[in-house]
């Protein structure tokens, strides 16, 4: 089997705040094959975005990666000096944010910022950079790209701005793109356009993609594998179709059951009781325990991931057993 493009092992990112230590990401492990799309789902505060930021070395104090390893194309990123990390970032791994203005500078033309992004990693004449930028914009479906290069970000609609951010992320053909809720703020018709564009691009370019979202339907439409996060940990991971059909973790089941699209109109939705716990005061053991219908005294001890390489869950009482466990 070929080596994964990205291998994350036991990654923990903590924030040392005045109020206490927030274990935003705790013991997160996953791997990403070349060209694979992994969906990372969770509710607010589950640690999905901090996981994404950690991969690019973008966690600022009071937060830092406290342990674990991130291997990108065989190279360890944790502990890498800043200048070496800058060389990797943008060139081999890039990020697309929910708000494209996190990427774009409002006072520079699109051409100027794309040229800067190109020159950050290679030499190019202004003419060559312009040609390449126009090509990149065309690739993400921006009409009349050569002319629009001279426009400023505010002259683009929200959807078009997000396309520009995606074009910049793709400039150096990185091995991995981390996309953090890039369509959440967009209207559904524009979201559908961008999802279609993204699916086409990653398959054409062979780029691996981590798609972070709270929206199970968006993630399921795009990714063949899915990881569900709760309170800083991956609680379930597996092929998207299998996880959606037969979730093993009670939290995944609860999330799916609470979707109106799965319920009879007008009937009460199944709901997960309570709310997500404060990351400063996580319950002992499994953090989902206080809201879980299957909780038992065993759950006061943190469950280890069980299952196999394809399908894992972190639960003492999983809903479905893998063949290995059933024996």
């Amino acid at each position: 089997m070929t080596e994964p493009v990205l291998q994350v092992s036991a990654l923990s990112t903590h924030f040392f705040t005045k109020a206490g230590v927030v274990r935003a990401v705790e013991g997160v492990s996953f791997s990403l094959a070349r060209g694979e799309v992994l969906g990372l789902v969770g509710e607010s505060g589950s640690g999905k975005s901090v996981t994404g930021f950690s991969l690019l070395g973008l966690v600022d104090p009071p937060g830092r990666i406290v342990s674990g390893s991130i291997r990108l194309e065989g190279r360890e990123l944790v502990g890498l000096p800043n200048d070496e990390l800058r060389d990797v970032r943008g060139r081999r791994i890039a990020m697309v944010f929910q708000d494209p203005m996190m990427t774009l500078n409002p006072v520079l033309t699109i051409e100027r910022q794309m040229r800067l992004a190109i020159l950050a990693h290679e030499r190019a004449s202004p003419r060559a950079a312009r040609a390449r930028s126009a090509e990149a914009l065309t690739r993400v479906g921006i009409p009349d790209a050569a002319r629009r290069l001279d426009d400023y970000p505010h002259q683009f609609s929200g959807g078009m701005r997000q396309r520009v951010a995606i074009a910049i992320a793709l400039l150096h053909r990185p091995a991995v793109i981390v996309a953090d809720e890039p369509t959440t703020a967009l209207d559904v018709s524009i979201q559908a356009q961008i999802l279609a564009e993204m699916a086409k691009l990653v398959s054409e370019l062979g780029t691996s993609l981590i798609w972070i979202s709270h929206d199970l339907a968006v993630v399921s439409a795009l990714s063949r594998r899915i990881a569900v996060m709760y309170a800083g940990r991956i609680v379930e991971e597996g092929p998207t179709a299998v996880v959606l059909d037969e979730p093993r973790h009670p939290y995944t089941r609860g999330l799916l059951d609470s979707l109106p699209s799965r319920a009879e109109p007008g009937r009460e939705l199944a709901q997960i009781p309570g709310s997500t716990p404060s990351m400063l005061r996580l319950p002992e053991g499994c953090p989902f325990r206080p809201r879980c219908p299957r909780a038992s005294p065993a759950c006061t001890v943190m469950p280890e991931p069980t299952g196999d390489a394809v399908r894992r869950a972190r639960c003492h009482h999983p809903l479905v057993l893998t063949p290995a466990e059933a024996v």
């Binding site: 799309v37 509710e43 607010s44 609609s157 959807g159 078009m160 209207d187 559904v188 018709s189 524009i190 979201q191 559908a192 356009q193 999802l195 279609a196 699916a199 709270h214 929206d215 199970l216 339907a217 968006v218 399921s220 439409a221 795009l222 990714s223 063949r224 594998r225 092929p239 998207t240 179709a241 299998v242 959606l244 059909d245 609860g254 999330l255 799916l256 609470s258 979707l259 109106p260 699209s261 799965r262 319920a263 109109p265 007008g266 009460e268 939705l269 199944a270 709901q271 997960i272 709310s275 997500t276």
Partner: protein, 332 residues
């Protein structure tokens, strides 16, 4: 007849920009000053039956929130009027009824951060004499209990609550005015999935118990299907389709409705085929002529550029504003 419990009659809302000093001087001197008004809502007529929940869906800028605000008596319409049981909701630019209340998307913005939850809930009812000062405490506690919160929370402040709890407080405050109609503008849009289900269930229960009439504004077609018997679809200020929610979703009669339904990602095992609509929503400052959807419409013909289609009955109980409504194929 209860048919016209809440009547929205030919309501339009136009926002004209305030001219700056320079433009005003230029206008005085006879210069051509371009003051483009935004026609946010154009001649919308709807009736909501007593006890009915009508969903209002559409994308940003379609005018659904503006229409909601006119219905709630927050914004005066530029034309037309809204009546609740024959009584106008507004007179001389002021709201004249307490029978319509509103729940907004962002409970952070709609609750006073310096007011205790109990005061927030009783402020309106006390001002309108719906409750005596001596009973205000127990009144607030009762409403908190109704929306599923601990009655002891009356002494707390908004920042001590999570987003979902805060939305419950906002709902309690609206209901404490004993309204007949609740206008909800994206009330679950900023909530997490698991919390969204709790609030949707709360609306289902409250509607049943209090016989509420609802105008439920949302971009989320799934939530609207779940809560509303009928749905109205808006595009650039106009209603383009209206009908029973289940029927509209299964067999839309307007190409925009169909495109909107197909754009919503479905839960699937990955690698779903996307068939997005081409183009973007045009600027309301410069809407296309005749049918506003024609530049993006797969069914557009010459007539669509010349003649605006009326919102006509295409089947019993179903209305659509499309010249080719009969040819729209069911949603995939």
């Amino acid at each position: 007849m209860s048919e016209g419990f809440l009547t929205i009659r030919e309501v339009s809302k136009r926002f004209a920009p305030q001219l700056g000093l320079g433009d005003r001087i230029a206008a005085r001197l006879g210069g051509a000053v371009e003051a483009r008004a935004v026609q946010a809502v154009s001649e919308v007529s709807l009736t909501i039956r007593r006890g009915e929940a009508l969903g209002l869906v559409g994308e940003s800028g379609c005018g659904k929130s503006t229409l909601g605000r006119v219905v709630a008596g927050i914004l005066p319409p530029s034309g037309g009027e809204v009546r609740l049981e024959q009584e106008p909701v507004m007179a001389n630019g002021r709201k004249t009824t307490t029978r319509i209340q509103t729940v907004f998307q962002d409970p952070f913005a709609s609750l006073d951060p310096r007011m205790r939850i109990g005061e927030t809930i009783t402020e309106g009812p006390l001002a309108h004499g719906l409750v005596k000062a001596a009973e205000a405490g127990s009144f607030a506690r009762r409403w908190l209990e109704t929306v599923g919160l601990d009655p002891d929370f009356v002494t707390r402040y908004p920042h001590q609550f999570s987003g979902g709890q805060r939305q419950r407080v906002a709902i309690a405050r609206a209901l404490a005015m004993a309204p007949d109609v609740l206008v909800c503008d994206e009330p679950v849009a900023s909530l997490d999935v698991s919390i969204q289900a709790q609030i949707v269930n709360l609306f289902l229960r409250l509607r049943r118990e209090l016989e509420l009439t609802m105008l439920f504004i949302s971009h989320d077609l799934g939530v609207v299907r779940h809560l509303c018997e009928r749905v109205a679809v808006m595009y650039l200020g106009r209603i383009v389709e209206l009908g029973p929610t289940g029927e509209v979703y299964a067999a839309p009669k307007h190409p925009y409705t169909r495109a909107l339904i197909e754009a919503v990602p479905k839960l699937s095992g990955g690698g779903a085929a996307f068939r997005p609509i081409a183009g973007e929503i045009p600027s309301p400052l410069d809407p296309p002529t005749a049918c506003a959807f024609h530049p993006r419409c797969p069914l557009a013909i010459a007539r669509c550029r010349i003649e605006r289609p009326a919102l006509r009955e295409v089947e019993p109980g179903r209305r659509a504003a499309c010249h080719r409504a009969e040819e729209v194929s069911p949603a995939a």
